[in-house]
């Protein structure tokens, strides 16, 4: 399996603010990857770096086998949809399709029109008069008409109501399945992306917390429930992501598949949301070896 995105130690600083630090991720071909993180975690910065709209301060990245750059050949392969869903307010859908036809090497105008017709989005009304959901669908149709190999969508459903969200993601998943492209969708809500994605990149406080196939990540995380006792033995073989201690009970979220021999601990599978929230709860982790614990006086 080839990789579409590969970064190593990617860092972006804006004057004094570090938007992204030491980001190392890999996204294989044909995946829909959910880029999840709280607001300000660096999602937009990462997507802009991948799209070639910004240059990294440090680190390396390869997208579709090359360095993202301002070059028509590279730009033709990338479909980037910014968070604010940029459209010319006074131009109609047809106008946008004509603009795309003139500014792109590959452009499937018929595809965009068919798509919009099937969604009952008028082609002859100014984009400014369309609803939020229709604008998002129009922008997605335009992004897909470019026939990109990599789709980067920044918070594509943030501004949509639940029904429009669902429709948008459904059409997106269908389009991705049809064309075999790779997509990275960012969101601050896991629930939005859970249904459509099979790959996860979790960012918090400008650092990558998790990156990988969702099933594989779930398989290597477990919840251990046991009495209030020392966790030193477990820490030797596994990484404790989160520890919640009450007077009688300790609940651990651990990473690693080494067997737990102590019969006091009961192991259970972890849900995606539980796992993601545990990592998001970690404020600023310098390195995976120095995890802080929640609910413990230090």
């Amino acid at each position: 399996m080839t990789t579409v995105i590969e970064t190593r130690g990617l860092t972006k600083r804006y004057r004094k603010v570090t938007a992204l630090s030491d980001c190392t991720i890999t996204v294989p071909d044909g995946r829909i990857s959910a880029l999840i993180g709280p607001n300000g975690a660096g999602k937009t910065t990462l997507l802009r770096l991948l799209a070639g709209l910004a240059r990294p301060t440090a680190g390396e990245l390869a997208v579709l086998g090359g360095i993202p750059r301002q070059d028509p050949a590279f730009l033709a392969e990338i479909g980037f949809l910014a968070q604010e869903i940029p459209l010319y307010k006074r131009f109609t859908a047809d106008d946008h399709i004509s603009i795309g036809a003139r500014l792109n090497r590959h452009w499937d105008a018929a595809y965009a029109r068919d798509r919009l017709r099937s969604l009952n989005i008028p082609l002859d009304r100014a984009a400014g008069t369309l609803s939020g959901g229709q604008r998002a669908q129009l922008a997605l149709a335009l992004t897909l008409a470019k026939k990109p190999r990599l789709l980067l969508l920044d918070e594509p459903v943030a501004a949509l109501d639940p029904l429009a969200r669902r429709n948008f993601l459904a059409t997106l998943a269908e389009a991705v399945a049809d064309s075999g492209l790779t997509a990275v969708l960012s969101s601050h809500l896991l629930a939005d992306m859970e249904r459509v994605s099979d790959h996860l990149i979790l960012l918090a406080t400008s650092r990558v917390q998790l990156c990988g196939d969702i099933d594989a990540l779930l398989a290597e995380h477990h919840v251990l429930i046991g009495p209030r006792k020392s966790t030193t033995a477990i820490e030797k073989t596994r990484t404790i992501v989160q520890a919640v201690r009450t007077d009688r009970q300790t609940t651990l979220l651990v990473r690693g598949n080494a067997p737990v021999l102590d019969p006091d601990w009961e192991s259970a599978d972890v849900g995606l949301e539980e796992m993601v929230l545990a990592y998001m709860g970690q404020d600023c982790m310098p390195a995976p070896g120095h995890l802080t614990t929640v609910g413990e006086k230090q």
Binding site: Q70, P72, A82, P86, S98, I99, N104
Partner: protein, 274 residues
């Protein structure tokens, strides 16, 4: 990109073309009137050999003359309404993001847009200047003041250069400030400041001034158009008479006039030195 630029600006270009057409009609009609007025005046004075002093002849009407002087401000309009929003408005509304994610580099996006806008500014300044220069022909022949500030600045190549400058300033301000309204303010202020510095402090030094001395009563008329930077009166020793600051005759303070000239001043002899 050229098509997109046209598509985005065709309304503004239409408005500008309509304004230019209205100005053209007004100046052509009044300009033709002035030309015939001038030619008949010349024919009349040639017949009576009295062409030496035509300075008092007034051509055209005051309203159109005022409008023509006001074309001094037209170059900055290009920078304000086309230049400042060119990049800033696209950044504000996010449409730049749309354009940048087509298969067009940001460099080309800016280069094409800016080139067409600069061309539009040059045409805007050029058409206005051509009309005004043609319209002013008889007046320039009559008054020889085409180099004076306020006349020089609305004729020939100058408005084209100022329109290009205003446009470049507007685009740069919009790109740096990233917001339309502040960019427009900076464009207007910057244009006026540069304009004032050039007109008041730099232009007088573009050529070294020529000093000529002539008889006070007969006066002198330099050949061709000229810009008079300063004038003064010399006394019989060739030294400048101080600036007028009080009662004067012929630009000479009364207390410098010889006593024999007192009758020239009417009843003003009481100011003469005792």
């Amino acid at each position: 990109m050229s098509w997109l630029t046209w598509r985005q600006h065709r309304f503004q270009i239409g408005v500008a073309a309509a304004l230019l057409a209205a100005l053209a009609v007004l100046l052509l009609v009044t300009g033709l009137q002035m030309a015939s007025q001038y030619h008949s005046a010349i024919a009349a004075c040639t017949a009576t050999h009295s062409c030496t002093n035509q300075g008092g002849l007034f051509l055209g009407n005051h309203a159109v003359g005022f409008l023509v002087i006001m074309t001094l401000g037209t170059p900055v309009l290009a920078g304000l309404f086309w230049g400042a929003p060119l990049v800033a408005a696209e950044l504000e509304t996010g449409t730049a993001q749309f354009a940048w994610m087509q298969s067009v580099t940001r460099r080309r996006w800016l280069a094409v847009k800016a080139s067409w806008m600069l061309l539009a500014a040059a045409v805007w300044g050029g058409v206005i200047s051509a009309l005004v220069t043609w319209w002013s022909g008889p007046n320039n022949a009559l008054h020889l003041d085409a180099f004076n500030p306020g006349r020089f600045d609305i004729m020939g190549l100058v408005p084209v250069a100022y329109a290009l400058f205003a446009m470049a300033l507007g685009i740069a301000a919009g790109a740096l400030l990233r917001r339309t309204l502040p960019a427009m303010a900076v464009t207007l202020a910057g244009f006026i400041a540069v304009r004032a510095v050039i007109a008041l402090w730099l232009r007088p030094h573009f050529m070294s001034a020529v000093t000529t001395t002539s008889n006070l009563i007969r006066g002198s008329t330099p050949p061709g158009s000229y810009w008079q930077l300063a004038s003064g009166v010399l006394n019989s020793n060739g030294h400048p008479v101080p600036q007028v600051n009080g009662p004067a005759a012929f630009g000479i303070p009364l207390n410098y006039l010889p006593a024999s000239c007192a009758p020239l001043n009417g009843g003003a002899t009481k100011f003469a030195p005792s």
